[in-house]
């Protein structure tokens, strides 16, 4: 079994009309055994920037802590929050630093940039950025997620519809993956508010 499939994960982010949604599953496993059903994979960096980390759980937590370190210093020195594009470059640089002994994570970055324009991107474990205008996926359920998102996604959805779409895409994809699931965690971000919702799906 690959190290990326050790803990199991599913992550997806989608762009809507002046908003974005980022969702993850909640399972943390050790190969076939489920250890936790409330594992946090999506982290808030600031009010308009969220980071999801799929792959090895330990690396996801450590990488998140390192990024908080860098972002806090940036905030103190520049007296402003980091733009999502800048943050993506930072994550990419940090991952590439460990080119020959990488973090076994695949990040998904979602944020509202200048003029509250939604920004999403994903990258591989050594920092190759993949910018997309519609959706990005990561984790053990990524193949199912690609299929589900491609068929369910429509551009310029309002936030209510976006929430429904991303939830359906996530739940149907994790049902086809034994290593991810046990519910979902969806963050819906508009310029004015952040809504966090827990989804109940097949608890297996």
């Amino acid at each position: 079994m690959s190290i990326f499939e050790y803990n199991g994960s599913a992550l997806v982010a989608m762009v809507g009309k002046n908003c974005f949604a980022i969702a993850s599953d909640r399972r943390l496993g050790v190969q076939l055994q489920t250890i936790a059903t409330d594992f946090q994979r999506i982290f808030k960096i600031h009010d308009k920037l969220f980071l999801g980390l799929s792959g090895l759980g330990s690396d996801a937590q450590t990488l998140h802590q390192r990024l908080v370190f860098r972002h806090k210093l940036y905030q103190l020195r520049e007296e402003r929050d980091m733009k999502p594009e800048t943050f993506a470059s930072l994550v990419s640089a940090i991952l590439y630093e460990k080119r020959f002994g990488p973090y076994f994570c695949q990040p998904v970055i979602a944020g509202l940039g200048d003029d509250d324009k939604p920004f999403i991107c994903t990258m591989d474990s050594i920092g190759a950025k993949e910018l997309a205008k519609d959706f990005v996926v990561a984790g053990t359920a990524s193949e199912s997620l690609y299929g589900a998102c491609e068929s369910m996604f429509k551009p310029d959805m309002e936030h209510e519809e976006l929430f429904e779409t991303i939830s359906q895409a996530l739940l149907s994809s994790v049902d086809r993956d034994c290593l991810s699931g046990w519910g979902g965690h969806v963050y819906l971000v508009t310029p004015t508010e952040v809504t966090e919702r827990i989804l109940k799906g097949r608890m297996d």
Binding site: Q65, F69, L73, R77
Partner: protein, 249 residues
């Protein structure tokens, strides 16, 4: 004076003094003053801005007050370029602690860590000490609100009220007389503004010459560091009788 012993920072004089450290404190005695007061629901920091010129490009960033981490801030007196280095060092130290222990660095430990850095410059390397004194204001879950003063020698102490910079002796004795235990944050602001206005050299006090910052707990229980806006500061100066209200013509 034994001038022969001045040039090396890392040598004691025959009288057992470190002249370079004392000269550093002289440099601070000429800089804009800063006052810190501990109250039961927050810490207040007030600073005198020495550089006021119409030509200065005003921006939102402050000259005397700096945030070190979400729960600690400091006021500076002395050589600004030295202060910038130390503030950056303090910020990185605070983040390193949070990275390792996943909780905010206790205020005293942060002050101690920074003072250890300052002490290094008085004992080895042959470099001059930093010409800065700090007033650290912060909150942690072990000891609540705290105020610390540190100087170029690397010494620090916890204070209920402290002053650094120009006329700090006068300010300190005034604080000793007027400080009361269990002051509220508002009373502390009032006292700080009064003391600063009496010890400052300038004849009239306006919000352009001052900076005011407070560290307190917000209603949600999180520590907040807030710098007072110039408008609110002007109103406060008039309210406490420090400046005369503008004459209506």
């Amino acid at each position: 004076m034994s001038r022969r012993y001045d040039s090396r920072t890392t040598i004691f004089s025959p009288e057992g003094r470190l002249y370079q450290v004392e000269y550093a404190m002289e440099a601070i005695g000429n800089a804009g003053s800063a006052i810190g007061i501990l109250s039961k629901d927050g810490v207040v920091l007030v600073g005198e801005k020495k550089v006021t010129s119409k030509l200065l490009q005003t921006s939102t960033s402050t000259e005397k007050m700096y945030k070190i981490d979400d729960h600690v801030a400091c006021a500076v007196a002395g050589i600004m370029s030295d202060a910038n280095i130390l503030i950056n060092t303090a910020r990185v130290q605070a983040q390193r602690y949070t990275f390792s222990y996943q909780e905010p660095m206790p205020v005293e430990q942060l002050v101690q860590s920074l003072c250890d850095t300052k002490q290094g410059y008085t004992q080895f390397g042959g470099l001059r000490p930093f010409g800065v004194s700090f007033l650290f204001a912060g909150w942690d879950k072990n000891y609540g609100f705290q105020l610390y003063m540190s100087d170029p020698s690397g010494n620090y102490g916890g204070w209920k009220a402290a002053a650094v910079g120009a006329n700090n002796q006068a300010a300190q004795s005034m604080l000793k007389q007027d400080y009361k235990e269990d002051m509220s944050r508002e009373e502390a602001v009032q006292l700080a503004l009064k003391v600063l206005s009496k010890t400052m050299d300038s004849t009239s006090l306006t919000s352009e010459k001052l900076e005011l910052a407070e560290v307190f707990l917000s209603s949600s229980g999180k520590v907040k560091y807030q710098v007072c806006t110039p408008d609110a500061l002007s109103k406060m100066l008039i309210k406490y009788g420090v400046t005369q209200a503008p004459v209506e013509s």
